[in-house]
């Protein structure tokens, strides 16, 4: 059981941005991806999710043996994949609650069903109960849930709403794209702790954590660390790699 990427080559508007990436995230594993800006981390995240502008030239993406490349974005979600956006999109007139409810309904017969979370949310009443409970754990003001999603939200609020969606949907594999940027120290702690707690509640959930900082890794303990540079994976190792990176920066990595 894993999310597996093999020999992935991707281009945007004819420009090659992923130059052969091999990566496997096993069920229950936490893999941290680091690397300088423009190294292809977010591109990898969006390609996994099936964003149209990322054209896959070569390679494969499989989720528990299923070929994701043949699926549309929403089908990938139903297969169990989830992306927490680096820059979540604002949509006027559509509330957080509406998006979440629609997402839950869309995923009701999908891989997300596995943990039993969705079954607690069948009626609107049940859904609200779970929603409010999860929101409270993330210290999200209930008023925020009935506002247009991400419209005028602070950086921290946006990220909390992303994690809230992950908490409700309980996907099999989660990509967290810089979930720790734009958060103040307290919010970072809350978000980090909640992610770790969800992971403990669901020991099969695989995490791909894209970050620039080691602060969040105090809460979410990684199993492996991968460094990307110029569209390729240039280094792979254990937790110790983080300390080395912190000290020497990406320059030191060949």
């Amino acid at each position: 059981m894993s999310l597996g990427v093999k020999g992935l080559q991707v281009s945007v508007k004819g420009k090659e941005i992923l130059k052969g990436v091999d990566l496997e995230i096993k069920a229950g594993e936490v893999v941290v991806i680091m690397g300088p800006n423009g190294s292809g981390k977010s591109s990898l995240a969006h390609t996994l999710m099936g964003q149209g502008k990322y054209k896959v030239k070569k390679g494969s993406i499989e989720l528990d043996g299923e070929n994701l490349l043949k699926m549309k974005t929403n089908e990938r979600v139903k297969a169990g994949l989830f992306l927490s956006w680096q820059n979540p999109v604002a949509i006027g007139g559509v509330t957080v609650e509406q998006v979440l409810r629609a997402a839950m309904i869309s995923c009701k017969n999908s891989a997300c069903k596995r943990t039993g979370q969705l079954e607690k949310c069948l009626t609107v009443g049940e859904f609200r109960e779970v929603l409010y409970k999860e929101a409270e754990k993330l210290r999200i003001d209930r008023k925020l849930l009935s506002r247009s999603i991400n419209v005028g939200f602070s950086g921290g609020e946006k990220k909390k709403i992303e994690v809230l969606q992950m908490a409700l949907l309980r996907p099999k594999y989660v990509i967290l794209d810089e979930v720790d940027s734009g958060l103040d120290i307290d919010a970072l702690k809350i978000v980090g702790k909640r992610i770790e707690a969800i992971r403990r509640e669901d020991s099969e959930m695989g995490l791909m954590l894209i970050t620039h900082y080691q602060r969040i890794l105090k809460e979410v303990k990684p199993d492996r660390v991968i460094v990307m540079k110029d569209g390729k994976i240039v280094k792979s190792g254990g937790k110790k790699l983080i300390a080395i990176l912190e000290k020497e920066g990406y320059e030191g990595i060949k």
Binding site: M49, Q51, G52, K53, K72, T73, N74, V77, K78, F82, L83, W85, P88, V89, I91, G92, G93, V94, Q98, V99, L100, A102, A103, S106, C107, S110, C112, S148, Q165, L169
Partner: protein, 441 residues
């Protein structure tokens, strides 16, 4: 009765048993109509043949179709919208007597107790001649306004008459369709609303279901008198069938500290030209507009707002949203005039257009005529497509492309829909969903 002549006008007068002044008025209007040229701007009106239009349907002649004769496509639309059978029959042209309905009877009792007059315009001419004669197409809309207002004056029939005495506020909206029974198809209907000092009402015109019509021209007139500190909300929800030219003239005169609110959503028609006008005569009077139009294949919706600021510290606020798809065209055409003497007037116009594809078009023509110095007038216009990013965001939560698109569009129109009465709002969202069905692969 087809064709337009003095003979026809006299015949309408005779059959409706109107007072003599009305016949003179109709004949004068016909003269003005014949002299006036067709508008040289706006939508293409060359498809209108005045000779072929049926101008009057005698209420005594049964012209109902049986439910079986209503086109199948229409029945299906009603079905999908979940419209009650009784309403469906009426909408399909099969006719229903609303006057005898329970809802209406209950409302009528309440209104009568408060001294409000709410009746068919034909009836009002005969029952309240003094009131009608004082206000009817004289001070507000008049036959010189445009060719279609003149045509209306000559052949008008049906519509609603509302008179609200001083200091009466009612929450339940008065609905125009009470009067659109088998007597008339709502083609040249006249709505006259007079609201005295300190009173408040809401009026709703139309319904969200497509209306089947044998004739293809709608030239209604709406006249509203808003008294001192009075408030009127006029809501239009229209979905004319796609061969209708909708050329209505609507106008309100607002007294001191009075408020007129125009809420409208137009989905149907082949072509629409509609610019509700507010004359802000009294000090500190206000006009608010919220409008939504949706144009699909072969449709041209040319809508907007006309505000004349006459009084000091008058305010107007226009929010106009439009959606164009499958080659449809939407236009915002507006005029804000701040006359000499309207010191401290403020006007804000905000247009937002959404294009669903490359074939569709949208345009904005906001005119401003400002004759006073110390005023504020702002205009903002935004045009855009549904951002790929928004679609992708919602799809990354498991929604299909169509579901995502419908959600984004419903969000776009939400500021207007939330101002509609709840049952209309629900229908509106469903309609948008139906309309969007064809645009998403």
């Amino acid at each position: 009765m087809r064709g337009l002549s003095k003979g026809l006008v006299r015949e309408i007068f005779r059959r409706k048993k109107e007072p003599k002044w009305m016949m003179e008025f109709r004949l004068k209007a016909l003269e003005v109509f014949e002299k006036k040229a067709m508008p040289e701007w706006g939508v293409d009106l060359s498809g209108i043949d005045f000779k072929k239009i049926s101008y009057f349907n005698d209420p005594k002649v049964k012209r109902l179709r049986s439910w079986e004769q209503v086109p199948e496509e229409m029945k299906q639309t009603f079905e999908k919208l979940g419209i009650p059978k009784a309403e469906r029959k009426f909408l399909g042209g099969a006719g229903v007597q609303w006057d005898s309905g329970v809802i209406y009877q209950n409302l009528k009792k309440k209104l009568t107790e408060k001294g409000i007059i709410f009746c068919d315009m034909d009836e009002a001419v005969i029952k309240y001649p003094k009131l009608v004669k004082k206000y009817f197409m004289k001070q507000c809309v008049n036959i010189e306004n445009n060719k279609f207002a003149a045509l209306h004056g000559a052949v008008w029939s049906g519509g609603s008459f509302v008179y609200v005495p001083k200091g009466i506020k009612i929450k339940e909206p008065l609905q125009g369709y009470f009067w659109m029974n088998e007597k008339q198809g709502g083609q040249f209907e006249h709505t006259l609303i007079i609201v005295e000092e300190n009173s408040e009402i809401q009026f709703i015109e139309g319904c969200t279901a497509p209306r089947y019509k044998k004739v293809s021209l709608h030239a209604g007139v709406v006249e509203i008198f808003v008294g001192k500190k009075a408030k009127v909300r006029y809501t239009t929800v229209q979905n004319w069938s796609k061969d209708v030219y909708n050329l209505a003239t609507k106008r309100a005169i607002v007294g001191e500290k009075g408020v007129i609110e125009w809420v409208s959503s137009s989905l149907g028609s082949k072509a629409t030209m509609l610019y509700p006008c507010s004359i802000l005569k009294g000090k500190k009077s206000r006009a608010d507009y919220l409008s939504l139009s949706l144009a699909g294949k072969g449709q041209e919706l040319d809508v907007g707002a006309k505000v004349i600021h006459l009084g000091e510290r008058t305010k107007s606020n226009v929010i106009a949203k439009s959606i164009s798809k499958d080659g449809g065209k939407t236009i915002y055409r507006g005029l804000v005039k701040i006359a000499k003497g309207a010191k401290g007037a403020k006007s804000s116009v905000n247009c937002e257009a959404l294009l669903m594809d490359d074939k569709s078009k949208t345009n904005t023509y906001p005119h401003m005529e400002i004759e006073e110095d110390k005023v504020i007038a702002i205009h903002e216009a935004k045009t855009g497509k549904i951002a790929e990013e928004k679609l992708f965001y919602l799809m990354s939560r498991g929604l299909s492309e169509k579901e995502a698109m419908v959600m984004i569009i419903n969000g776009f129109i939400e500021p207007i829909v939330k101002q509609l009465p709840i049952d209309y709002a629900v229908e509106m969202n469903r309609l948008v969903e139906l309309e969007m069905k064809g645009s998403v692969g």
